[in-house]
Symmetry: C2
Subunit: 368 residues, 2 copies
Amino acid sequence: MQTELSKQLGIPYALFGFTPFPAVAAALTRAGGFGVLGAVRYTSPDDLRRDLDWLDAHTGGRPYGLDVVMPAAKAVDGIGEAEIEAMIPARHRAFVRDTLAKHHVPELPDGEASGWRITGWMEQVARSQLDVAFDYPVKLLANALGSPPADVIARARDRGVLTAALAGSAKHARRHADAGIDIVVAQGYEAGGHTGEIATMVLVPEIAEAVAPLPVLAAGGIGSGEQIAAGLALGAQGVWLGSLWLTTTEADLHSRALTRKLLAAGSGDTVRSRALTGKPARQLRTAWTDAWDDPDGPGALPMPLQGLLVAEALSRIQRYEVQPLLGTPVGQIVGRMTSERSVQAVVDDLTRGFEKAVDRINRIAGRA
Amino acid sequence: MQTELSKQLGIPYALFGFTPFPAVAAALTRAGGFGVLGAVRYTSPDDLRRDLDWLDAHTGGRPYGLDVVMPAAKAVDGIGEAEIEAMIPARHRAFVRDTLAKHHVPELPDGEASGWRITGWMEQVARSQLDVAFDYPVKLLANALGSPPADVIARARDRGVLTAALAGSAKHARRHADAGIDIVVAQGYEAGGHTGEIATMVLVPEIAEAVAPLPVLAAGGIGSGEQIAAGLALGAQGVWLGSLWLTTTEADLHSRALTRKLLAAGSGDTVRSRALTGKPARQLRTAWTDAWDDPDGPGALPMPLQGLLVAEALSRIQRYEVQPLLGTPVGQIVGRMTSERSVQAVVDDLTRGFEKAVDRINRIAGRA
């Protein structure tokens, strides 16, 4: 499974994996793919440094990447969380309280802070993460929302670090290309997390044509070897998988109940909802997303207010594993995630399945 | 592009095309694919007979199919249109009137009837269409909504006619298989017309596994050779294309303005709306769909009431080519429909593009 891009990066398989778990990223890189660690959850540079130390020590010199979030955060940058907090309407705060009360969600113990902070979404934090990243032999810097600033792209290029950005439309992809990005991740409607409305089947060739000759990675709905073959047939130079790793043995969701929910979910059990961050993001459908998507409710606030509003609530739901409300970003491929396996076992399955799909397409084309 | 199914049908390409236009169906069959004529618009058996006579005379003995609609129509069957009309709330009638007035849509001339009738959606009509169909060497009977009744499947089987049914989920596909259907068309979210929420990338392998060893056709988002390769890599035994034919020279949309709108539309210019029939169907996004999807409006009625309610309005919009309201069912692939070409030219492009995609995947797999 070799493309120009995989050769450039020196990896055996053009198989990129986004994950918040260093152990998953390391295992994927060791298995011949390319692990990309999501940095959004790191609120302190020291925590990131600690995990990059570990990752670097466990990838045996093979390449890995880092995904930072730099949204158009200028609007909220330079003002503190307290000032942003003040923008949240009382009606929305009451709705959070009422929804938690309805499901008997306990308070956090005294002194235990909510795990999630808006700070990870702010440019100043993303920049401090970048400063850390450049101390490590990171080979790819990905950006989940928007194009990275020009100086970041230039800094990466000077150090031989490739930059990638996610796009849900050809228009966004062209904007990334104009900004000087090296790789566009074409992320379809069926993907987990922030997505647009164009499905992977339509989006990948459209973006590949729009930004040619830049390499494109296919993302969304990919969790088997045949789906990898499909993504590559669509013109991608690799595939970008996120959801599939959530049920690997190396992942640490901090909740057995959530893992069980993922293993039991079908492809129809996700929803594209603004409940999590204020922008449409695909996730498990739960009583929590239903409440925010209810036309009779107050509806989600825009980013970044929604994320700030629900941060503590999500911590409580997860800590106490409150079943009806417990969810996570995940794509429609969740329907095929039916057992817990090691990253290596998953990669073996993917590469075997890819070869079988190629056999099949060659038989159909009369070349077998 | 040969699969077990295409060999069974004796066609050079496993390329199925759904179309309401006999000229398109005939041209596709002549070009080596398999034309499937949509019968929903025929309100009289004689009209259908006339077009099947023509189709039969223009396919040179090569195989073609017919698509009838047999929804769970028992609920409204046996009662007349007048009784169904009476179920439509006055508020909804007023909303139609107001929306048309807002856009200055003229009345139909005296004596000119609305083209669309609910009757095409009723089982008694579908059955009279089937009686006609069995007088012709139709090789495939497809059913767009639900499974055909057991006696229809048995009658088809007795005559060596294959049956196919569309499915938007593995559950629906299994229901079709249990009913004794021969082929399942896995139609993804990005498709034109009635669709579910699961994207083609995820849906095709899920359904192929659910109904194996029944053959599955991939539908939704397919309009190029690379998308055909992707659909086949996902485990389909053929592809089912509908939207792509709308801008062929053989299609007759009765509106140049609509053709121009299709040629100009991007992949993001469709919406999955209940405005047309009461069930979610992907179509061009227009001021008409916006009005029905507006949370402050009355919202669409359930099938079959919505179709009956809006039939005359749609005839008026189309007759007078009222630009902001003018639409049609079409999939996200509309973004790649940028020129008018003959069906033969389209098929040539598809087969060439397929071969190139196979070359590409073989290079990636190290087999070239």
